[in-house]
Amino acid sequence: MNDIIRMTAADLATHLQSGEISAVDATQAHLDRIEAVDTDVHAFLAVSSDALDTARRIDERRAAGEKLGPLAGVPLAVKDVLVTTDMPSTSGSKILEGYMSPFDATVVRLSREAGLIPIGKTNMDEFAMGSSTEHSAYGPTRNPWDLDRIPGGSGGGSAAAVAAFEAPLALGSDTGGSIRQPAHVTGTVGVKPTYGAVSRYGAIALASSLDQVGPVTRTVLDAGLLHDVIAHHDPHDSTSLKDVWPSMADAARSGARGEGLAGLKVGVVRELTGNGFQAGVQSRFDETVALLTQQGAEVIEVSAPHFEYAVAAYYLILPAEASSNLAKFDSVRFGMRVQPEGGGTVEQVMAATREAGFGPEVKRRIILGTYALSAGYYDAYYGSAQKVRTLIQRDFNTAFEKVDVLVTPSAPTTAFKFGEKLEDPMAMYLNDITTIPANLAGIPGISVPIGLAPEDGLPVGIQVMAPQREDARLYRVGAAIEALLEQQWGHTLISQAPALGGK
């Protein structure tokens, strides 16, 4: 069945439940697709050799009458930042080449228990540092909409995998936009849950106070289904919340039925609109906001005066935490070891290993973080950035007193070309201006496709943000926007993506 790869995860799950499609067929179809198009796209760093066996076991359990989870038998792509026992986990770095984890990340364990079938590990910027996957030590992933352009980052591999129909679902991680910005540039859906809603155990840490794992999919409902699998308290992660969450899939279903827009108060952030945004990104965003108004939502302009300091604060807090987290790559317990010429002390071996094993962006951020934490600079830089974090949380609190959700374009531009921002770190950093505030405040955000920019024909997304713990609201509003637009267009956005490899 050719159509298997183009089905939503929800539809595929229905066919699996009814027995019309087996898990083996579903898995084989996606492995074939990877074989056919991934030479061009390069979304995957590793493909599972166990996937078909795992699928066979799911089919056997289903045939035996066992009650399986709603997504049992659906293939899943896993960002390489998440450790897995059956495939290498490198986080896009040479220093971890071939690393085999002795345990599964909690989200991977939960996915396996739900019957999902991990089919491969997806490419990413090294240690999730980047917005384009150009900083992967294994070469960039290409955007399925235009192979000369970036798929976003750091989770470009997961977004490209679902956009290229190589997997219906993927797991990503979002520290400053690494799920939402790739969703924006690939015409897919990405969700960063409330900080602590999803376990970070087994996610190779970048910045521990910002990192959050979340779903990467083609539809809002599919994201909700995957979110329901992974959002659970985990005693292995001391920042994991004990909340009992409502079903995000149910929230998405109610949104798709058109519930929840009438009377919804929608805030447009003045500081994240207009100036600095590509014309076609802005126009698609404005049209979507107008559509919400037509549906009875009340649109209010809100101001977040400290958002202009968010990128600066982020690029102090992130490198500071990263320089500490990456100290574990010491050539002693795991990963690469490089002997300096003529041998040396353990410290010299460590320094030679880290010089050879880390790429330029990782070195840049470690040095920056070491600087920000140095005696004499700590208060001026890291201390000030933590205060800005408070101010940004206050901006959000003030805004959420007036509105139910906030909306912005998910990123300032559509997918840029390879190399365009590689030599200018600040230009690359500013691409995350819309997504960073949510991470600093720990609130959830979703990116939903809203059309193509007229000037370049590339996807544009809208970001919806809600207060902490109100993730369900994102799914309700996100699914409502998706349903309204698809009704208007008469098709999904992803169906307009160009064919790959002649298919």
Partner: protein, 99 residues
Amino acid sequence: MSEISEEQVAHLANLARIALTPEEISSLTTELDQIVDSIAKVQEVATPDVPATSHPVPLSNVFRPDVVGNTLTIEQTLQNAPEHADNRFKVSAILGEEQ
């Protein structure tokens, strides 16, 4: 202006245990100077009356029972080590000749 010097970057590289090449030190000095100039603006609004936030969702007293959990075996612990012997990680000399 932040005015980061090459000596300072070399010192930071030493603290961070990365054996940067002279070329890397030179280019990083220029880049860091530009980046620090852009991010130093956090000081404009970080006045003394604003408390610092280190964690987005404050939690306190996250305890667990003081019992052995599901830990890794010695074999699992050593499986990724570049070198090991006698159930221990093996490294080269801790002290150099001049130490």
